[in-house]
């Protein structure tokens, strides 16, 4: 059983590594900001899966995994959701104000007068 748990943990760890790469690529290369926000969520999922692999490897005492990284992932998922919500609120407001949902549009330099 433990050898199986180990194989499965490594498999999901590798999946996490791949998702990190995919999410990162989406963030740095996609012009659409909404898509970049999804990219952040994929990157986050990959990171959490690495934690999950670490937790699964630490299975002991009749527990399916080390509870400490599992708890960290729960905290992390909630924080990632809050980040997504804030980013989307900003993006929606940006679109309402400027009619553009990208950074690529020629943005006027910020002025300080109100």
């Amino acid at each position: 059983m433990s050898a199986m748990a180990l194989t499965s943990a490594s498999l999901f760890g590798l999946c996490g590594a791949a998702l990190v790469g995919i999410g990162l690529f989406c963030i740095v290369s996609h012009p659409d900001l909404l898509r970049r926000i999804i990219g952040f969520n994929i990157l986050g999922a990959g990171i959490f899966l690495v934690f999950g692999a670490v937790a699964r490897r630490g299975a002991a005492m009749e527990l399916g995994g080390d509870p400490v990284p599992q708890a960290m992932v729960i905290t992390g998922i909630v924080v990632a959701f809050a980040a997504t919500a804030l980013a989307i609120a900003l993006l929606r407001r940006l679109a309402s104000l400027t009619g553009s949902a990208t950074f690529e549009a020629p943005a006027a330099p910020p002025r300080s007068e109100p």
Binding site: M4, T7, S8, A9, F12, L14, C15, A17, A18, G21, I22, G23, F25, V28, S29, H30, L34, R35, I38, I42, A45, F48, L49, G52, A53, V54, A55, R56, R57, G58, A59, A60, M61, L63, G64, G65, D66, P67, V68, Q70, A71, V73, I74, T75, I77, V78, V79, F81, A83, T84, A85, L86, I88, A89, L90, R92, R93, S96, S100, A101
Partner: protein, 318 residues
């Protein structure tokens, strides 16, 4: 045994392949809405992945938040952008644009792969210590013990993070609408949605209460319950059965701040009657923790629902 082995390994491989394929689809597809739908499917699949990793607590959280609430946020944002923003200019897929980032990201993945495969054997684990200390907390679920006892300060401050995010989202409203309510109800509410919003919430509340209650000893707990309650609240507001509450309402604010405030109070109570900040007296540790969880559940539910609802856009009534 070996048959069972290879079947479950095959299942895991298929799951991982599905996850990676969906993620790739999100990146390459030109259809914005298709990308969001793929991401929602990704979240649900990921929930199964967590169950395969024997982390049922995480699986519940991921399925509820990653697939559910995030998906709703993204879909609403997509609809808003389609109305208010020019579609992003199509980018010519020149290799120059994506080759360098792709190579860099590939290197990150390779480095991670190397580390994941080289983790020490036997793996270090705090499972023993977490279980050994469970008795002092009166809990049976070690994940809940980590969240509310051993590393309680992480959980407490993460609640503050949620509140800050909400204050930040509210601060994005127009000056005139600040303190008002957000508009969730669409112009035409389909009849089946109203039906669902009438039938489902009682069950949702029941399930949430159950989750908090068993969370002390079994998988489940305040995050999962809070997310379910948030979903019920959103359903009711979407169907127009109840309007979204104005954000300046005192009762709402007390509910939002109540969970973390109680947490802080109990924390400092520990300085007086137990072994320091966020330490619980052993005799009443479990009731204290369940009480904090109950208050936190309400706060989380309110915060998550309002985060999805977004900045207020109707002026408050004087």
């Amino acid at each position: 045994m070996s048959l069972f082995w290879s079947i479950s390994l095959l299942f895991d491989i298929a799951l991982v392949a599905g996850l990676i394929a969906l993620a790739l689809h999100v990146v390459v597809t030109r259809d914005g809405r298709g990308a969001i739908l793929a991401f929602i499917a990704f979240g649900l699949l990921l929930g199964i992945g967590w169950a395969r990793l024997a982390s049922v607590d995480v699986a519940l959280t991921e399925a509820a938040i990653g697939g559910g609430l995030t998906g709703m946020l993204l879909l609403r944002a997509h609809a808003h952008l389609a109305r208010h923003a020019a579609p992003p200019p199509p980018v010519a897929p020149e290799p120059r644009r994506w080759l360098v980032p792709a190579i860099a990201c590939g290197l990150v993945t390779l480095a991670l792969t190397a580390v994941v495969l080289a983790f020490p054997q036997p793996a270090p684990s705090l499972a023993h210590q977490a279980v050994a200390s469970l008795e002092t907390t009166g809990l049976g679920n070690p994940v809940t013990a980590v969240l509310l006892a051993y590393r309680a300060i992480d959980t407490l401050l993460e609640k503050i993070v949620l509140i800050l995010a909400l204050v930040g989202v509210w601060s994005l409203s127009r000056d005139a609408a600040w303190g008002g309510a957000s508009q969730l109800q669409p112009a035409v509410v389909p009849e089946p949605l109203v039906f669902l919003a009438r039938v489902l919430p009682p069950f949702g509340v029941l399930i949430a209460v159950y989750e908090v209650w068993v969370g002390a000893d079994l998988p489940g707990g305040t995050f999962q319950a809070g997310t379910i309650l948030a979903a019920m609240a959103l359903l009711v507001m979407l169907a127009g059965l109840r309007p979204a509450p104005p954000t300046q309402a005192r009762a709402l604010r007390v509910m939002l701040a109540g969970g973390p405030a109680l947490f802080v109070l109990v924390g400092f109570l520990g300085v007086a009657v137990a072994q320091g900040f966020l330490s619980y007296p052993e005799a009443i540790a479990k009731p204290l923790i369940v009480g904090i969880e109950a208050a936190l559940t309400l706060s989380i539910a309110g915060t998550l629902a309002l985060l999805v609802a977004g900045p207020p856009d109707r002026a408050p009534e004087p």
